[in-house]
């Protein structure tokens, strides 16, 4: 096994067994762990508090308890998170942070208090008018609240210096990841769609101090190899997240690879950096203000379609794959708008309606195959 294969194997292991990875990190670092619901949850503040933030993006459990709180037409990520919470699989968490971007998240926050009383909840709201002064101030206040809550849990104050250091670490993470995905697109066979997903996902369950050097090493190693010829199909992936994994298997089998992504679970996490001016919390708030083209952040110009067109052009991609999380209002509202724009530009599009746990993926498999056939003739 060469070093590239080794690192990939480590990352795959982490993504496949997150609980094990988290427990190992806890043992090695002696740190407490805070669960972070999607999206843009302020991991920097958690890290500065001397704790490890871990991402909670659903799972594949059978839903048995969560439907005491949520009707069937709730997105699967949130049903899964509730189920995991109620089932006790998050018992190692000292608290969770839930940001209320969409109507579902608002309610999940509220239900959490009753459904999982043992894991303290830190609820927060991101301002949608996030670019005006009042919006930035509001977010700084929300961050302050989160910081206070975390200090109560850890029993110690977070200093400015700790915050600055944590922000630096996360900036390094974001830069490292941006470099990694750019390089990875040149090695579509070594870093296929599924491996790419696992590597990026592993960041959610580990200490960034451990994770970053490995990704840097992987990027450097890749860079030393000659670019890989590829006669398959290159696509841009968009949506909340690219799961369940069997879909990725199917994509790989059909020689379809991700040239780049606009997934909330992947590139949206690291494509926007913090601002360089202001107090640490202001810098974080300005990062959100500068964040664009995401279904969960107000965008009256709806620039997401343009983003996808730009990515297609930049990476000379053959098309766009939409991972539509079923029952996700924000994503479902964006779709008709960018669909029209992509169609006008004659960009082929594959629409996959997904739930994290799917009983049958046969239909989706067929769609992937026909997409491939359409593009290969």
């Amino acid at each position: 096994m060469n070093r590239i294969e080794e690192i990939i194997a480590i990352m795959e292991d982490v993504s496949r067994y997150p609980a094990k990875a988290i427990r190992e990190s806890m043992e090695e670092t002696g740190k407490e762990v805070i669960g972070c619901f999607p999206l843009y949850t302020p991991e920097e503040i958690v890290y500065a508090a001397g704790m490890i933030p871990v991402g909670l993006w659903g799972g594949q459990k059978e839903i048995k308890k969560a439907d005491k709180y949520l009707q069937s037409f709730c997105c699967s990520i949130m049903k899964e998170n509730m189920e995991h919470g109620m089932e006790g699989s998050y018992e190692f968490l000292s608290a969770i942070i839930i940001p209320a971007y969409c109507d579902t998240l608002k309610c999940v926050c509220e239900n959490w208090k009753a459904a999982v009383p043992d894991i303290p909840l830190i609820a927060m709201v991101y301002p949608q008018n996030r670019k005006i002064t009042a919006g930035v101030e509001y977010l700084v206040n929300e961050y302050k609240r989160v910081k206070d809550e975390l200090e109560k849990i850890s029993g110690k104050k977070i200093t400015e210096k700790e915050l600055e250091e944590s922000i630096d670490l996360y900036e390094e993470y974001r830069k490292t990841m941006s470099q990694f995905v750019a390089i990875a697109s040149k090695y579509p066979r070594t870093i296929d769609a599924k491996k790419r997903h696992s590597i990026i996902k592993a960041a959610y369950f580990t200490d960034k101090k451990w994770y970053i050097p490995l990704i840097k090493e992987l990027t450097t190693e890749l860079n030393m190899l000659p670019e890989e010829a590829f006669n398959g199909i290159k696509v841009i992936a968009t949506g909340i997240l690219a799961e369940p994994e069997v879909l990725l298997d199917t994509l790989v089998q059909n020689n379809i690879t991700f040239a780049a992504d606009d997934l909330a679970h992947e590139s949206r996490q690291f494509r926007t950096g913090v601002s360089n001016s202001g107090t640490p919390l202001e810098r974080l708030a300005l990062r959100i203000a500068g964040n664009q083209k995401c279904a969960l952040l107000y965008d009256e110009e709806k620039t997401r379609g343009q983003l996808l067109l730009d990515l297609v052009k930049e990476y000379k991609a053959d098309g766009v794959v939409v991972f539509m999380m079923k029952f996700c209002d924000p994503e479902e509202f964006d779709y008709p708008i960018y669909k029209k724009e992509l169609e006008a530009a004659k960009i082929p599009m594959l629409y996959l309606e997904i739930e994290q746990k799917m009983d049958s993926v046969e239909q989706i498999r067929t769609r992937i195959q026909s997409f491939k056939e359409m593009l290969t003739v």
């Binding site: 005491k68 709180y69 949520l70 009707q71 037409f73 709730c74 209320a100 971007y101 969409c102 109507d103 579902t104 608002k106 309610c107 999940v108 926050c109 509220e110 239900n111 208090k113 009753a114 459904a115 609820a123 927060m124 709201v125 301002p127 949608q128 008018n129 005006i132 002064t133 009042a134 919006g135 101030e137 509001y138 206040n141 929300e142 279904a295 107000y298 965008d299 009256e300 110009e301 709806k302 079923k326 029952f327 209002d329 924000p330 479902e332 509202f333 964006d334 779709y335 008709p336 708008i337 669909k339 029209k340």
Partner: protein
């Protein structure tokens, strides 16, 4: 001498006038805004800008049983069947522009307030994008705490100030602060009378047949800042008060046997079906969680108070408040039961319902049922299921009545 009108006659006249004026304004080149239903209309009223409320219009289309055509249109363009049906109807209407339920002019700008849900942000973004028009957004953060926190008030106030600048830019007119003060006063007054009228239903029997609340709702949405609105609700409150004094119940031909609350929006396409099933069983819906959302009351010229009031509707409050609110309604309106509408369109209202139901049931002991429906999508409702659930509710309420009688 003019004959005096009943509030019902006035209601219809005002609604017609509301739509006619908007169409007229558009024809003569004036600005028209599309607004969400609980937005700070005070700003638009002050600037004398005509407003249309897509939720009202979609509800009217639903009630005229012609929603499907509009829904099909938007779904064909990629709108998911799982999205709020008001949005699907409205977006379909933007293309078809013709309905037997009445027409509305296309907007010149968008006025959106997310105190009802975040769905409206996405829906209105799409309108703004499709029509290339500006959008004013009031982002009223969801209150996870019981009360509206101070930093939210500050943020909302900042947005009010920002919106004034945006409105001046869009309209090319100066904002008249004296007029604003007056509009604020009228709006609060109207809201008080609205609340007063709906509170008359606390009398036993209730002078109000609660489904009328749904009818009057269209007017509280669009007439809150107008003197005509104020007069209408005052008249309605007085009518109900007199009726209550005379001990007249909701119906001439039937007796009010059970008093219930309705949680959520009506099923517009099945308004009379859902109503008849209740009436047949002597059930009067005397109150609902929803109409109280327009009780937006604050002191004139108090922008912070206004910010707080707009963020205090139950949809924007935490679950504990939601439960307390219903417990209070159970007491104030002497309720026998609760009907929860699990409205396929409205995730924000639905996804707290189960826990609210449990909490209310634990604290009050009164029976309740949940039925599946939708506010405007006719495909998401089954009359048979509804009837079965109501039947179950009647049995439980009857049982409770007997237990009470035995104790006394």
């Amino acid at each position: 001498m003019k004959e005096s009108k009943t509030s019902k006659q006035l209601l219809q006249e005002l609604l017609n006038q509301h739509y006619e004026e908007a169409l007229e304004a558009k024809k003569s080149g004036e600005l028209v805004a599309w607004s969400t239903s609980i937005a700070p209309q005070e700003f638009l009223e002050t600037m004398d800008i005509k407003v249309v409320y897509p939720e009202n219009h979609a509800a009217a289309i639903g009630a005229r049983k012609c929603a499907q055509e509009f829904i099909d249109n938007s779904e064909a363009r990629g709108y998911s069947i799982d999205l709020c049906s008001y949005a699907r109807v409205n977006i379909g209407y933007m293309d078809i522009k013709e309905s037997v339920a009445g027409n509305i002019p296309m907007p010149d700008f968008i006025f959106c307030c997310n105190n009802i849900c975040n769905t409206v942000i996405k829906w209105y973004e799409n309108i703004a994008k499709e029509l290339h028009i500006p959008m004013i957004l009031f982002d009223l953060p969801f209150n996870h705490t019981y009360e509206v926190p101070d930093h939210s008030v500050k943020y909302i106030r900042g947005q009010f100030e920002n919106a004034i600048v945006q409105l001046e830019e869009i309209s090319g007119k100066k904002f008249d602060y004296d007029r604003f003060k007056e509009v604020m006063k009228i709006s609060s007054e109207t809201a008080k009378w609205w609340k007063q009228a709906s509170n008359e239903a606390a009398a036993r029997p209730s002078p109000l047949n609660g489904f009328d609340l749904f009818n009057y709702m269209a007017t509280i949405v669009c007439m809150r800042g107008k003197k005509e609105g104020l007069n209408l609700f005052k008249l309605w409150a007085e009518e109900l008060h007199d009726k209550a004094k005379r001990k007249e119940g909701p119906w001439k031909d039937a007796e009010e046997k059970y008093r219930v609350m309705w949680d959520g929006i009506a099923c517009w396409p099945y308004l009379s079906d859902t109503y008849k099933v209740l009436k047949k069983n002597g059930i009067n819906m005397v109150t609902s969680t929803y109409p109280d959302s327009w009780s937006i009351i604050y002191d004139s010229n108090d922008l912070d108070g206004m910010a707080r009031a707009y963020s205090s509707n139950y949809a924007n409050r935490n679950l504990e408040f939601g439960a307390d609110n219903i417990v209070k309604l159970v007491e104030d309106f002497s309720l026998d039961g609760i009907i929860f509408h699990s409205n396929r369109s409205c995730k924000l209202m639905d996804f707290r319902q189960y826990e609210v139901q449990r909490k209310v049931s634990r604290r009050t002991g009164i029976p309740s049922v949940i039925f599946d429906g939708d506010q405007t999508d006719p495909r998401a409702f089954s009359l048979a299921q509804y009837e079965t659930r109501i039947q179950a509710l009647v049995e439980m309420m009857e049982q409770k009545k007997k237990e009470r009688a035995n104790r006394e």
